[in-house]
């Protein structure tokens, strides 16, 4: 009796599938509970990986619900590489579709923020741009330049107060979330990623920089989004967080 890996694998993610034939107990009888050990290892270890990756989602839905949610997720989106620290990329899209959490409309963006923090943590180390370079550059040249951004920088734009929700559930003593949408900048000054809410217009500005628009164009879109846009504050957040790494004057 041959037991192929297709047969062995097919039941691992499907609790209702019978154990494949050809797997035996010491007495030669078909292995049932022994096969379930592998089935359990797969589901439990992948669920634990998701618990580590999405602690705030877990807190928001509760531990028992998160296990159900993770079980559905890992069956629909099993990992496609052995690098589990990056597992869960499809979680925001999954939460948008997952029926039981439809009334929690902010969950997908909270998952985006948790993903952004994790990707930032593992991103490449780069030398930040010396702020003096920006200060000394004539305005017309700066406006025409494009900036290179650190791989550890991430932007999460949300119509929900996503950063406040995240903080309220991740940090002791954080205030209750307001009702306003938030654009969140993730920066990594050293090895620990930091999330910060951008001022009005800041999301449009950073978004344009990420699309490799010229500095001046990014500034225009920020002012279009928020006429009182404060460039100094947003630029300070980017520079202090080591998010700018170069200037390209083509």
């Amino acid at each position: 009796m041959m037991t192929g890996q297709r047969d062995f694998a097919s039941g691992l993610l499907e609790p209702d599938f019978a154990a494949p034939v050809g797997l035996v107990n010491p007495d030669g009888a078909q292995a049932l509970k022994r096969y379930d050990v592998y089935r359990n290892n797969v589901a439990v270890s992948l669920t634990e990986a998701l618990e580590l990756s999405f602690p705030v989602i877990r807190k928001l839905v509760g531990e028992a619900n998160f296990k159900l949610l993770a079980g559905a997720f890992l069956r629909r989106h099993p990992p496609v590489t052995p690098i589990l620290m990056l597992y869960g990329e499809q979680m925001p899209g999954f939460l948008e579709q997952f029926e039981p959490v439809q009334r929690l409309g902010y969950l997908p963006d909270v998952a985006r923020l948790e993903l952004a923090l994790r990707l930032s943590y593992h991103a490449a180390d780069v030398e930040p741009l010396d702020p003096v370079v920006l200060q000394q550059m004539p305005t017309d040249r700066l406006m025409a330049a494009r900036v290179a951004l650190a791989p550890a920088m991430r932007l999460v734009r949300s119509r929900w107060p996503v950063h406040s929700i995240w903080r309220f559930n991740a940090e002791d003593g954080a205030g209750k979330p307001s009702a306003q949408g938030e654009n969140v900048l993730v920066i990594r000054p050293g090895y620990d990623p930091v999330a910060a809410t951008l001022p009005p217009g800041g999301g449009s500005f950073v978004d344009a920089l990420m699309r490799a628009e010229r500095f001046g164009t990014a500034l225009d879109s920020a002012i279009a989004a928020a006429p009182g846009f404060d460039l100094t504050e947003t630029l300070g957040m980017l520079l202090n967080g080591g998010a700018l790494i170069g200037l390209d004057e083509d």
Partner: protein
Amino acid sequence: MLDATAHRFDRLPDAPGVGYKPQHFSDILSNAGPVEWLEIHAENYMGDGGRPLAQLRALAERFAISVHGVGLSIGGEAPLDRDHLARLKHLVGWLNPASFSEHLAWSTHDSHFLNDLLPLPYTNQTLARVCTHVGQLQDTIGRRMLLENPSAYLAFAETTWAETDFLAEIAARTGCELLLDVNNVYVSTTNQQTDPYAYIDAFALDLVAEFHLGGHHADADETGAPLLIDSHGCEVVDPVWKLFAHTVAKSGPKPVLIEWDADVPDWPVLRAEADRAGAILQAASA
């Protein structure tokens, strides 16, 4: 790249090592005790940068490092994942570890990574396939690897080879060395209702370059027969220490690793396990 001083660790010392956990970073640097080397799981160091790689670079200046892969699926029916081979080559290339090891197991099917070390039947066909994969890995990373015996919960009706012979034959055909996990021996032989000492006595100990020790939990199958689960979540049990002492008395001292991956304890608890392993090595070399 690491500086030249790191290259003095060209082999693992015949001493205790531990599976590295980031929460132990400063304890290890200030109070390593008997621990002379560290094992890392390759897949946890495949990010682009950040703290994990910075910690690894710092540790590699002080300790010999063993890179232990848990995701290549050497026992898989499918060809090895070329992307993953390239990642392993990159890691081994920049880190230049003292050792690289992987498992006689599979974990990937249809491009899905199942995150468990799954068993394979031991037949002429699977032997040929595993040898091809071991050869391909060794060619890719440009060095000899260690292949580890798995923990098994069940058996395959189609198996025709004893695991000990199967591993020795892979080593003979590919030139790889073996990693003998003594806890896995105890778990597998208990689960298969065979004799762990007979397994050790049949094992090609001259091909062993490293030992593993870890904790397991006890359960029972649907007939009430003992079913040990290789959990790596507690202390090494006394029967496994005894089996290890028997093994080392035959093989002589070799590098030995304490694995503790779930419910990871504070450093002194893990260090005490390393102390106990070190005492057994010393008794064997006396």
